[in-house]
Symmetry: C2
Subunit: 318 residues, 2 copies
């Protein structure tokens, strides 16, 4: 079989963009393409994926797709971050029909960790948590040397490990989840309230200067770099809270590695992983000499590489 | 090979008693013996295990031992609940030498869940948490159809999942662990303080009537049965708190079964499992139709049966 025949396309469907890449058996991205995620429902998302895949200089053997939802038996059960998606969408049927190759579906956080595992910062680990700091706080698991997705594909939700039962209201509707303190969406809500109450911050000016509508990772990194006191206070709270959730997770799972990804990891680098390690350690029953905290090395490519690896694994072991 | 030749002895070393049982390949306990756990260090514990095993009507092929500590590469790293144990005790060497058969060591909570998995309430499950309510709150995991013990054998510590960061002081020294609210040792501490503050309760009278020195499961069950208001308040707090820890655990692991064991499970039965399920559900991101809460069916035998199963697995796959 030629190398070309073994090229697999990985598709990373995010809330903002869809990225696709032709990935070789050594997990290198040979060609890539990108488009804005349609906000008009699954049919248009599927059409965009098909166009992007066809635009690549590749004849893929298979296609892997990571999407921000719960994947159970090949169906997307819930996709909370994509506008216009209802429950139980069949992506595999239409994509297979239009692209003529096998399609495998996975959750974006799990797929991102898989990418880091085959070719990045998780490589060589056995019991790994992937922690993705973004709009929300996502996670994926590799346990005993195998991706672990749980009974219905919903495992890894470290953002909804409760750190303070009855505490801050989370966007999931529960009170006290880690994400309520450490997700960028929640942090922006608190920042807005504090500015209303008279606090000064450069966060919103930086946002405007960057022509953004949200407090992106870049905006946060810039404000933290300038030692903006409100940004520092909110970020310290996020780190402290994630430390508690990571402590609980390690007491349950006795990990050997935590891989930290997402926009902030890209901007802040290993310092972010080190700060999380320091914050988690006091909560660990057995601080372990085997436990490493590292940042993502594939960054934006983790989703595409992981989606391709998922499809490759499905070809070998369908 | 005769059935007799396939008999394995399981040893369950607890803080109070050591129990041993000759277990056949169908996980039935054929003969059993029991003695108080020596409080004079590992050597006397080893001598007691040897005496108990020799007293059985069995010629075991192998011996499995569950002890309340962290087991890493066959050694007991820490054994907090046994008096006179220092770190890194070699149990396998002396036991193998004196008993002349292979000895396998495991953590008591993991071993108990293994017993329930091969022959009890966990049977047929794939992603399982064993929750043991006792002096402390212990736990074990089976994930993707295999026992999961983590990188250094320390996984499963649901008692040290943090439910309220900075909350009640736990006997582990951290603040806000589930065990600080739901372990019998901590609950007795709070009960004592409340009685000092003028609260009335039958708990300590029942303890004296039963000629116990501690608030045992039997004492708690009796007081709850009599609707003692302080006992009810403390127990409600324990259930609520464990609900939070179970919610966090399920958000991470997307389980299909929770098995509840320990003395209280034996006394209160399925009602305890149902109450924990009700308490956990509000904290779950994806309440799952596949998730069952059940009580231990092997009860006191879980440790012995599980220890034998552990040794049996080691014979097959050393």
């Amino acid at each position: 079989m030629s190398t070309t025949a073994m090229t697999i396309v990985g598709v990373d469907v995010g809330g903002t963009n869809i990225e696709v890449g032709a990935v070789d058996p050594d997990h290198h991205v040979l060609d890539r393409a990108k488009a804005a995620t349609p906000e008009t429902g699954p049919e248009d998302v599927i059409a965009t994926i098909v166009d992007l895949v066809r635009s690549l200089d590749a004849s893929p053997t298979a296609i892997g797709v990571g999407i921000p939802g719960v994947i159970h038996e090949g169906h997307a059960l819930t996709v909370p971050n994509l506008i216009g998606w209802t429950e139980n969408v069949d992506l595999i049927g239409p994509l297979t029909k239009q692209l003529g190759v096998p399609v495998t579906l996975g959750n974006d956080a799990n797929v991102g960790l898989l990418g880091e595992w085959v070719a990045g910062a998780a490589h060589g680990g056995k019991n790994i948590l992937g922690l993705w700091m973004g709009t929300g706080v996502g996670g994926g698991l590799i346990l005993d040397g195998r991706p672990y997705t749980g009974t219905r594909g919903a495992a890894g939700e470290i953002g909804h490990v409760i750190v303070q039962a009855g505490g801050a209201l989370c966007t999931c509707g529960r009170r006290g989840c880690a994400e309520a303190y450490a997700g960028r969406r929640s942090m922006r809500g608190v920042a807005t309230a504090m500015v209303d109450a008279g606090w000064k911050t450069s966060l919103f000016d930086i946002r405007d200067d960057e022509h953004k509508t949200k407090l992106t990772s870049k905006v946060w990194a810039h404000a933290l770099d300038g030692k903006d006191p409100l940004a520092v206070k909110l970020f310290d709270t996020a780190i402290e809270t994630l430390g508690v959730a990571l402590g609980s997770t390690n007491n349950l799972l006795d990990l050997d590695r935590v891989v930290v990804g997402g926009g902030l990891a890209e901007k802040l680098g290993q310092d972010l992983a080190d700060r999380l390690h320091t914050a988690a350690e006091p909560w660990m029953l057995q601080p372990s000499p085997d436990l490493q905290f590292v940042v993502s090395t594939l960054q934006d490519d983790a989703g595409v590489v992981g989606a391709a690896a998922l499809a490759r694994a499905a070809l070998i072991n369908p």
